[in-house]
Amino acid sequence: MEIKDKITIKTDFSDKLGARYRTDGDFSGQQFLEDLLLPKFEKAVEEKYLLLIDLDGVWGYPSSFTSGSFGKLSLEKGADLVLKHLTFKSEENAIRLEEIVNEIKDPKKHEHRK
């Protein structure tokens, strides 16, 4: 599958990521999922292409953000479909990338309060 769309988290969202829910504060995982990731992901599934997520340039990825965005997406859409249509880039930190992919593969390991 071809990459036809891209989200650069640093520039398209924020370089300082927040917690899990909108009610927790700015730039939460829920905000990222609902405003940016989910619409682009659904378009990628519909039109059968890959969505590239650039993870670099961010201060760090709080576990609550990762779980509230990529984990929640995986719970809603299924890990296989998510990994089929999302591809990641992280030249800065390979462990960060691994952590996000693991969260997609096994999202139930964290408690989702909502």
Partner: protein
């Protein structure tokens, strides 16, 4: 076997052999030591080879042990640096507890320190892969799991990431100290495992 050992073997063994021949010739022309003609060529060569091996083995083994010890020491220092990075997180929380104030900047620093810790584990993984390929996956997974567990506690379960979190109370301070202790212990036991390679 690294390049140093290869050079040592390629140069060291022929050099020892030549020294053996030289010693043989010296003995041949010496008035004090005489060659016993009853000793066959094979026995003579066997003596030379045995002597050469006896001299070389301690040097080769010592060099291998010294090389391994040096690499292990270096990797252990890297794990100690990792402990320092993670202990900086505990320091930020301790200071905030003392000041009774936790600022947004403290949160940013903690998130960035986790990023630095992840980079350090990546660096340790690259180094272990060169010299201890077989043992590397187990060690790296242990480091990753310990860090990930602490990160999950602090940046998810503890509630520290919520924007209204602006004070480190006694309960949070104690709980974080316990969680930090777990990650620190795990890193320290990894140092013991590296020494056992």
């Amino acid at each position: 076997m690294n390049t140093g050992n290869k050079i040592f073997l390629w140069i060291g063994f022929p050099a020892t052999f030549l020294i053996g021949i030289l010693a043989g010739k010296t003995i041949e022309y010496s008035h004090y030591i005489k060659w016993d003609n009853h000793i066959g060529l094979v026995s003579g060569l066997s003596l030379i080879v045995t002597t050469a091996i006896g001299v070389m083995i301690p040097f080769v083994i010592k060099k291998l042990i010294d090389d391994n010890r040096g690499i292990k020491f270096f990797v252990v220092e890297e794990v100690k640096d990792l402990i320092k990075i993670v202990s900086s997180i505990k320091d930020i929380i301790s200071n905030a507890h003392q000041k009774s104030k936790f600022e947004a900047l403290d949160k940013d620093k903690i998130i960035f320190l986790f990023h630095l810790a992840e980079l350090k584990i990546g660096s340790i993984a690259d180094q272990l892969e060169i010299s201890f390929k077989k043992q590397s996956p187990k060690i790296i997974q242990k480091l990753k799991d310990a860090l990930s567990e602490y990160k999950r506690y602090l940046t998810d379960n503890s509630g520290m990431m919520i924007s209204t979190f602006n004070q480190v109370d006694d309960h949070f301070y104690q709980e974080n100290s316990n969680e930090y202790s777990k990650v620190e212990t795990s890193f320290k036991t990894t140092i013991h495992l590296i020494h056992k390679f």
